[in-house]
């Protein structure tokens, strides 16, 4: 059981992202807005497995999260796919401290991309009568989300990255020892 858990840790974490997305703990939020949780998983995953896997799992995450939200007109898929591909191009940094803060910066920018792409969809849909009243809350959403995602990323991403790398190394060692 323990071996199974260690081997499939990243996939188990993937299954729990929508649960955290639904949980939406208010005490972690700011102005009623939460950090963009899927990026905390997608960044370590893409860094370890590359752009192609980032793209596929960005798409998978987008499909699941879209099914949980009621806005059927807008989708989170473009932002997550773009982030998955982009995150896959990053390599780990030798300096731990720089690495930690790099997670924050990358996640902040990723959150900005996702938020902006979502906002553009809203603007596009309401284009003929898009009012200032829709634009202002959207800006507030993007800024608060970017801040919170960047704030929590160094803490969460580095731990998730360590766990994923550890479980991956373990499974690789097992494969080589069998050969």
């Amino acid at each position: 059981m323990n071996k199974f858990f260690m081997k499939n840790l990243s996939i188990i974490c993937f299954i729990f992202i929508p649960i955290i997305f639904l949980w939406h703990p208010n005490w972690l939020g700011f102005l009623g807005i939460q950090p963009y949780w899927p990026l905390f998983w997608l960044l370590p995953w893409s860094m370890l497995h590359g752009s192609n896997n980032g793209l596929i799992f960005g798409l998978f995450l987008g499909i699941i999260l879209d099914s949980l939200t009621l806005d059927s007109n807008f989708t989170q898929i473009p932002g997550l796919v773009l982030c998955g591909v982009w995150f896959g191009r990053f390599k780990t940094h030798s300096n731990i401290l720089v690495g930690h803060f790099r997670y924050g910066l990358i996640c902040s920018f990723g959150s900005f991309i996702c938020g902006s792409l979502y906002f553009l969809q809203i603007l596009f849909k309401h284009f003929p009568d898009s009012t200032f009243l829709i634009v202002m809350p959207s800006f507030q959403n993007i800024i608060a989300e970017v801040f919170l995602t960047g704030f929590f990323a160094p803490l969460i991403c580095s731990q998730i990255f360590r766990l994923f790398r550890f479980s991956r190394e373990k499974s690789l060692i097992k494969i080589f020892s069998k050969k």
Binding site: P18, I19, L22, W23, H24, N26, G29, L31, G32, I33, Q34, I56, F60, I63, I64, D66, S67, L68, T69, L70, D71, N73, F74, G115, Y118, I122, H126, T131, L133, I134, M136, P137, S138, Q140, N141, A144, E145
Partner: protein
């Protein structure tokens, strides 16, 4: 002539990994089509130990009493009007289902709550959801154990309302913040800060006379429309128990 033949072929369908990814993709498409009902039901069981307790129910009962007083006054007024007009349909006293809020998204892009009662308990899509204070929103989708409610603050929400003092119908549209916009299709509407807004007796989506909110600020007339910001009476970010109206409109 040399006969060039390929000795071994490597196509994508020969790889097991690709088939696994394809099956996962099909499963996720199923999740998407079913509007995440599988996940919502899983969340129902995981969050069960953390549902709000009985104390909240008592607080809500007090608030409901206050709400009932306001409602009775409104109904009396409406009845008088009905006798005069003899046109409006009757407001029915349908069955109510009490439900706890097990997930809420009251900020950010999505403004929705998930309740712990689903199609198993008789919740139907389109049912109105009320909390202490008044209307919260309408049920948008149901799974076996849960139902998802689009809040009045969501940009997806559009409901017909009545400004009680001036007896003018308008449209309440969510704008993505905590104060939805009331749109009145009349430049000369004498709407004032503090005016009371309730669900419209002419609405085909909601039961009549459910308290909704109070006018907080009035905007300048634009393109023969007058807009106002509404302060909702029911606060979705603090309410733990709600009621789903089963009545058919």
């Amino acid at each position: 002539m040399f006969d060039i033949r390929r000795i071994s072929t490597s196509r994508w369908w020969h790889k097991k990994k690709n088939w696994i990814l394809f099956v996962v993709f099909l499963f996720l498409v199923f999740v998407r089509i079913s509007k995440g009902s599988l996940y919502k039901d899983l969340y129902y069981f995981i969050s069960k130990p953390f549902w709000p307790g009985q104390f909240q129910k008592e607080v809500i009962r007090k608030s409901l009493d206050q709400e009932s007083l306001v409602k009775i006054k409104l109904l009396e007024k409406d009845n008088r009007r009905l006798r005069e007009i003899l046109y409006l349909r009757e407001s029915t006293n349908g069955e109510k289902i009490s439900a706890a809020v097990i997930s809420r998204k009251t900020g950010s892009w999505w403004r929705q709550i998930i309740l712990n009662k689903g199609s198993k308990d008789g919740v139907e899509i389109g049912s109105s959801v009320i909390g202490p204070g008044g209307l919260l929103g309408r049920v948008n989708s149901t799974s076996l154990f849960t139902s998802s409610v689009t809040l009045l603050t969501s940009p997806e929400s559009k409901v017909g309302v009545l400004v009680d003092r001036i007896q003018i119908h308008g449209l309440l549209v969510g704008s993505g913040d905590d104060y939805p916009n009331l749109i009145l299709y009349s430049e000369d509407a004498d709407i004032k800060v503090g005016d009371f807004v309730s669900s419209s007796p002419a609405s085909t989506l909601l039961p009549p006379n459910i308290p909704i909110g109070i006018v907080q600020s009035v905007g300048k007339p634009f393109k023969a429309k007058k807009t106002a910001k509404i302060l909702l009476l029911a606060k979705p970010h603090v309410i733990d128990w709600v009621q789903i109206l089963k009545e058919k409109i």
